[in-house]
Amino acid sequence: MMKRDLILQKLRKLLPEGAVSEDEGYESGVAFSARVPVARIVEIASACDHAGAYLESMTGLDFEDTAEIVYHFHTYEPKSRFSLRVLFPHEEKIPTLSGIFSSAVWLEREVREFFGYVFADHPDPRNLLLPEDADFHPLRKTFGKIAAYRKREEIYA
């Protein structure tokens, strides 16, 4: 059995009904995507860690009504990328994954400086790519020139 399916089973068990949505055709580049409550992201991510997935990418999204972080994982097997999505209010602090995946240290530093989403108990909260004294968050839709600032349901129906 592929690691991907093991993880899918596990997530189905851990998360409430309807939180996991599968993408059979791999159309959006992930096999399945799971909506995780902020408080449980550490628990879910460490389940993925135990199953042998690696944290491939992590990025923020900024909507008018909510903030979101998307974690992409992969298990080195064909077509086995999956994503975890966390929705939270802009000001809320998010638990850090740096205790589970070493790569999260830098990825979270990047998300923090570009979006201003603060990670609680992050071991190294300095800026990574921006100047060390930069107090702005360039990828927020409130910064600089933007095409549109939308609510989440306008994109994800």
């Binding site: 791999y26 959006s28 580049g29 992930v30 042998g52 690696y54 944290l55 491939e56 990418s57 990025t59 999204l61 998307v70 992409h72 992969h74 080195y76 097997e77 064909p78 077509k79 990328r81 994503s83 995946f101 070493s102 790569s103 240290v105 830098w106 570009f114 800026n127 990574l128 790519l129 921006l130 100047p131 360039p138 990828l139 910064f143 600089g144 020139k145 933007i146 095409a147 549109a148 939308r150 306008e154 994109i155 994800y156 129906a157």
Partner: protein, 374 residues
């Protein structure tokens, strides 16, 4: 491998500022090294000297306008980035690509991969103090640049791919030049092996140096040749075949120890495998037909939703994460770059090595800093 015998007293540690202007940092990397004598206690890379805000730019440009940006992230494999972006948007917006264009793009992308590996080969041996292979490699690379220059009009930042094909058709001279180059490169490999691979000093400088364990690679998200050197055959061209890679017969070279020598061998073997792909593509390429789907609108707007598209650049798994709100401008345009993770693992690998080894390891990892800075 030498390791410090006892943990050093704090007052013995001093900081060496390696970079941002240093001969071996390949771009503008600055590493703050805490040293005990010549042994590294702690390494702290300082990034961002080449930050241009490509992701923000992506949100303010139409998809087509963003194409030139893509080749400016990893400038050594710009065409691969173009290719990946074209594939991502084509998949997102459902654009048909003519078969001839697919072959042209594959050939050019693999040529670009070889050119990137050749440059790495040269600079890596130069980091180890061998100057001559550098110029040999550049001599070969020059041929690739000439070939790509003929078709794309550019030698470094190509922007050759378009959504639905390529911007210019190739002619018979291109095919001849490519064939001649493959023959030439094959005849040069024995020289490279005699000069570098079999060199006793080179082997001593690379074997068991900078070992990345598979578990460490997973923790840090290392991909590309660096991961394959640990023995994990993870290559997007095989694992999630895109374009027409599933039609070619090629292998994924892997190493065993994950040391610098394995990374070197994997990259050299990858050049050979790229040659095989190019040869097969040249043989099977349709003789005529369209090279570009001209029905693509300038202000194309993919449907609402998101797409994560991963492909294999010369340095590892690269991905575009696009979120569309149905307008011609992407709502979010994130780029997952391989060097980001590949450099991050060094903070772990550097500890306990000597300064000279650190240079060897940094070179063997093959990072392009502007790609990380974006």
């Amino acid at each position: 491998m030498p390791k410090p015998i006892t943990p050093p007293a704090v007052d013995r540690v001093y900081t060496l500022n390696l970079g941002p202007q240093h001969p071996s940092t390949h771009g503008v990397l600055r590493v703050l090294l805490d040293l005990d004598g010549e042994f590294i206690v702690k390494a702290d890379p300082v990034l961002g000297y080449g930050h241009r805000g490509h992701e923000k730019m992506g949100e303010n440009r139409t998809y087509k306008q963003f194409m030139p940006n893509t080749s400016r992230m990893d400038y050594l494999s710009g065409l691969l980035y173009n290719h990946g972006f074209a594939l991502a948007v084509e998949k997102f917006a459902g654009i048909e690509v003519p078969l001839r264009a697919k072959y042209i793009r594959t050939i050019c992308a693999e040529l670009n991969r070889i050119s990137s590996h050749l440059l790495w080969f040269g600079t890596y041996v130069m980091d180890l103090g061998g100057f001559t292979p550098f110029l040999y490699a550049f001599d070969d690379r020059e041929n690739i640049l000439d070939i790509l220059d003929r078709v794309s009009g550019s030698r470094l930042t190509y922007s050759y791919c378009r959504f639905g094909g390529v911007c210019r058709d190739v002619d018979d001279t291109f095919l001849e030049m490519t064939r001649a180059f493959i023959g030439r490169l094959r005849s040069r490999f024995p020289d490279y092996h005699n000069l570098v691979t079999k060199n006793i000093i080179f082997i001593h400088r690379t074997r068991n140096v900078g070992v990345i364990h598979p578990e460490q690679a997973r923790q840090f998200g290392v991909t590309g040749p660096n991961l394959r050197a640990c023995g994990i055959p993870f290559d997007m061209r095989k694992v999630e075949p895109y374009e027409i890679y599933d039609q070619f017969d090629f292998e994924i070279p892997v190493g065993t120890n994950g040391d610098a020598l394995d990374r070197y061998n994997v990259r050299l073997e990858e050049m050979e495998q790229s040659c095989r792909i190019i040869e097969q593509a040249l043989d099977r390429m349709p003789k005529g037909g369209p090279y570009l789907n001209k029905s693509v609108s300038f202000r194309l707007a993919p449907p609402k939703g998101e797409l994560y598209f991963a492909f294999e650049s010369a340095r590892g798994l690269t991905a575009y994460y696009l979120v569309s709100d149905g307008s011609p401008y992407p709502y979010r345009c994130h780029i997952r770059v391989p060097s980001f993770s590949n450099l991050h693992v060094l903070t772990d690998v550097f500890c306990g090595t000597m300064v000279a080894d650190a240079i060897s390891i940094l070179g063997s990892i093959d990072v392009v800093i502007p790609e990380i800075d974006r």
